[in-house]
């Protein structure tokens, strides 16, 4: 079977779709691999086909913008081999891509590769954070956007940045009683210029209208407050929260308030999903304003591995508008590398996206600053709180490993098995990394990262056994030959 592809785009969110649109317009045939059953990514997520959307307006502007991108995409769809419902388990530095879908997997070799892996919610551990009923803003959005499901009856929303306001608004719209919205930071983003800017900032939803809606509903938005603890036997039954200091967000636990809720939503920003760029061998650097570790890129979105591009939130949190322009730039450049358009033509086509990206830079920097969490939040976890929920490693065990001399994440992993579970560190690495920086006085570059390994996504042994595009090692059973020759 044919295993070589001239361009593979991993991720069918805004960045990946924009890259596909431009590459295909420039005459390049390509393969687009996306995990979801339908393209759109997290922001432009769509209800399943079986759902009829009768109230598109209530789905918000993201939905409408997503529909426009989908329309643009449909014009070039014939040049695109779409593998939806397909996850990418691994990427190798020679641009080999291992994918899996249902009961089968396979390997493609990509001449060019655009990785648009998106981001995930930044986990912030606090006592009770692993209880059912504690959900991330992203998880709640998925439930609401695709399934139109009401995730709880009575909710407390905590986090930082404009997204939590949007989530609270949507929860309220769906009939969830929102007790309070807790912003760990100050009110900067609500006032003045930022609101105006964020009005154009799709990632974080329609902030102003959400603020107004919360005001009308009488839902308090408390600044310099955060969640302290979620309680409950088998699921969340109550939560305590209270003030944090303005400087470092240190919780003032002497002044807790307690509310009965069955849902706690946390939204402390996003962490770029860099597993695939890491596996591909790209160099990364630590950029707190971009969400943490991100691949090093040139102006044309190419990583340090030739032919491998990284775009969108997976290459640095920037939101959907940034993702779209980065995707377009990478798509055009991939086509240029493939020779389907000339260098002049390519730079002409890139001019618009590059301009728009520049005009977004200022507000992006501001939002990056606002969304950064402060180290005081590290004090939320108690020694018994799980740092790694997959392998059930507590903060006390992390501390013990540090006392044993573990000074970086990889060493803590070897000591405690933290990060060895199915999430591969997504739920613990960013936070425990901060924790190590604080405990050892080292910088993120010294604390390092948890090395991901394939499979980056869940897969069955049956699917791996049915791998296409890879030779099985031995065909015949060689022990048949042993009888004659053996002693």
């Amino acid at each position: 079977m044919r295993t070589s592809r001239s361009l593979i785009i991993i991720g069918g969110g805004p960045a990946g779709m924009a890259a596909a649109i431009e590459a295909a317009r420039a005459g390049l045939n390509l393969t687009l691999i996306d995990e979801a059953p339908r393209l759109g990514g997290q922001v432009y997520r769509r209800p399943p086909e079986a759902f009829r959307v009768e109230d598109a307006e209530r789905l918000g502007r993201d939905f409408a913008r997503g529909e426009r991108l989908r329309a643009e995409f449909s014009e070039i769809a014939e040049r695109v081999e779409i593998l939806s419902g397909t996850s990418v388990l691994g990427v190798w530095p020679d641009r080999e891509v291992l994918w899996a879908r249902d009961d089968v997997s396979g390997v493609f070799r990509a001449e060019r590769l655009i990785i648009a892996g998106g981001a995930y919610d930044r986990p912030v551990p606090f006592p009770g954070w692993t209880l059912p009923g504690v959900m991330t803003a992203g998880g709640v959005q998925v439930l609401m956007k695709t399934m139109r499901v009401r995730p709880g009856r009575r909710a407390l929303v905590a986090g930082t940045g404009p997204l939590i306001v949007g989530v609270a608004h949507r929860l309220h719209d769906l009939g969830v009683e929102v007790v309070s919205v807790l912003e760990a930071g100050d009110h900067r983003w609500v006032s003045g210029g930022v609101t105006a800017a964020t009005n154009e900032w799709d990632t974080i939803g329609d902030v102003r209208s959400s603020l107004e809606a919360l005001g009308r509903a009488g839902i308090p938005l408390l600044f310099n407050h955060t969640i302290f603890e979620a309680e409950g036997a088998d699921a969340v039954e109550a939560a305590t929260y209270g003030p944090v200091d303005a400087e470092a967000w240190q919780p003032r636990k002497d002044r807790p308030r307690r509310v009965e809720v069955d849902l706690v939503v946390t939204g402390f920003g996003f962490v770029p999903n860099t597993e695939l760029t890491t596996l591909a061998g790209c160099r990364h650097h630590h950029a707190p304003e971009l969400g943490g570790w991100v691949p090093v890129r040139d102006a044309l979105m190419q990583t340090t591995v030739p032919g491998v591009f990284a775009v969108g939130d997976g290459a640095g949190i920037g939101g959907v508008l940034v993702a779209l322009e980065e995707g377009r730039i990478a798509g055009i450049t991939a086509a240029e590398l493939a020779g389907t358009i000339s260098a002049d033509e390519a730079s002409g086509r890139r001019a618009g996206p590059i301009d728009r990206l520049l005009s977004l830079a200022e507000v992006r920097a501001l939002l990056g600053e606002i969304s950064q969490i402060k180290p005081g939040l590290l004090e939320l976890a108690s020694p018994e709180t799980l740092a790694c929920r997959c392998e059930e490693v507590s903060f006390a065990e992390v501390r013990a490993a540090v006392d044993e001399g573990a000074k970086d994440l990889q060493a803590v992993k070897l000591f405690t098995r933290l990060g060895m579970g199915p999430c591969q560190g997504r739920n613990c690495a960013s936070h425990v990394g901060m924790h190590l920086c604080q405990a050892t006085g080292r910088v993120p570059e010294e604390v390092g990262r948890i090395t991901p390994r394939p499979p980056a996504k869940p897969v069955t042994l049956g699917a791996l056994a049915a791998m296409e595009g890879v030779a099985q090692t031995a065909a015949a059973d060689p022990l048949d030959a042993v009888g004659g020759g053996a002693s």
Partner: protein
């Protein structure tokens, strides 16, 4: 050597920790210096204690043999996985016999349970070729027939209902059991510490100090440590430590890739060895599927080919695994020696130095006896098992030594290693 030498152990894998434990038990002052590196075999190991299986070429041996045969790259005159010499089997059996007692001893000394489990090992026979291969192992087993058992397909189905029915039977090796490998290393380390050993973790050894033909100290990133005796227990990195004192130790990294499944209820009571892979269900429920045998230097990645081959092998042996999820895939670097035997004991012309390296795929299994022998040598006792067959000197040859010490020189004059060069567990 003084009566009570101060000992430094280089390397904190299962061998180094065992050495530190047994040396400390003798009342000596011991310091273990360790820098955990990616690919350490102890962390990667499946934890099988398979003295019989390993000695007759099962486990990784037969998998590697099949891979070579499939690629058409078997050395001339090689028919079947290599068997190890009798002396190794005796060594492995003796070490294996220490485990039941050690489980209680280390629980006492360290508070850690290393999860010793009596599982036995089953070689699954898929076809006539496998039967022809297994029959002589059963009839002429060097350990006598009482440790082996021939299972008909019906008996196998009863003993291991999860195993495929498309099978000609199985050969069982009693006494081939399993442990949790990193818990074992943890237990040795904690036990040593409780006996007064100093453990320097995350500390790199940068050099060995030699004066007048004797090692007198170890240079580390945290400063020098004086000693009367240094033990090289550096696993796949042993050659590097050897070079610090001009020794040419033929240990090279031999990569093995392994798959771990999600946690399952108890589905396998025995460990399984087939021509495709081995399978072992651990105490916490995950099934470990190993392992390849690859010489790719210190590269610790994984490959699609290995994932496919191991998964297919696992599904063939235990069909319901088809729907089971993979939790993790990893690789480890076995400390490979040319003849698959460990390299132990003193080196002529260099006092204050002992080898405890080259344990290839049986380091977990042979760690207790290795630790005990090194401790006996350290205090000047007669070793309770002869170390002569395991001395570095066995690789000496009249030919010139390789200058870089990668072991190419001395090996060139030896017979090619048997193809059943297997995997660490």
């Amino acid at each position: 050597m003084s009566r009570s030498p101060d000992v430094v152990v280089v390397g904190g894998g299962v061998i180094g920790c065992a050495v530190a434990y047994y040396v400390a038990k003798r009342g000596l002052k011991v310091t273990l210096v360790d820098l955990p590196k990616r690919g350490r075999a102890t962390s990667a190991s499946a934890g099988g204690l398979w003295p019989l299986g390993e000695s007759v070429g099962l486990g990784c041996g037969v998998i590697f043999y099949k891979a070579l045969a499939g690629m058409g790259t078997l050395p001339d005159g090689v028919h079947g996985p290599g068997q190890l010499p009798r002396v190794f089997l005796d060594f492995a059996l003796r070490s294996n016999a220490m485990f039941p007692g050690l489980a209680g001893e280390l629980r006492e000394a360290s508070g850690i349970d290393f999860e010793f489990e009596r599982t036995s090992l089953l070689f699954l026979m898929y076809d006539e070729g496998d039967v022809t291969f297994a029959k002589p192992l059963w009839e002429q087993c060097p350990c006598g027939k009482d440790l082996t058992e021939w299972l008909t397909p019906e008996e196998l189905a009863k003993a291991e209902p999860a195993v495929t029915r498309a099978i000609h039977g199985a050969l069982r090796f009693h006494g081939d059991d399993q442990v949790n490998p990193y818990r074992l290393a943890d237990a040795f380390r904690a036990g040593a510490r409780n006996l007064g050993a100093t453990i320097l973790t995350h500390t790199e050894v940068t050099g060995l100090r030699v004066e007048a033909g004797r090692v007198v100290g170890v240079e580390t990133a945290a400063g020098p440590v004086a000693c009367d005796l240094v033990v090289n227990a550096a696993g796949a990195w042993a050659a590097e430590v050897g070079r610090m004192v001009g020794l040419d130790i033929p240990v090279r990294p031999v990569r093995g890739q392994i798959i771990g499944t999600e946690t399952l209820p108890e589905v396998l009571s025995a460990c399984l060895s087939t021509t495709d892979c081995y399978l072992a269900q651990k105490g916490h429920g995950e099934v470990i599927i190993g392992s390849t045998t690859e010489e790719v230097g210190f590269e610790v990645g994984t490959t699609p080919e290995a994932l496919k081959t191991l998964s297919a092998g696992a599904v063939r042996a235990v069909p319901f695994l088809k729907d089971v999820r993979v939790k993790r895939v990893w690789s480890g670097l076995r400390p490979g020696s040319p003849d698959e035997l460990p390299i132990l004991g003193p080196v002529e012309g260099l006092d204050g130095y002992l080898n405890a390296c080259g344990h290839f795929r049986t380091g977990i299994l042979t760690s207790p006896l290795t630790g005990q022998l090194v401790a006996e040598l350290a205090v000047g006792d007669r070793p309770s098992f002869p170390v002569e067959p395991f001395l570095l000197a066995r690789f000496r040859s009249p030919g010139p030594h390789a200058e870089d010490g990668t072991g190419v020189g001395p090996l060139a004059d030896l017979d090619p290693p048997p193809p059943g060069s297997g995997g660490s567990r």
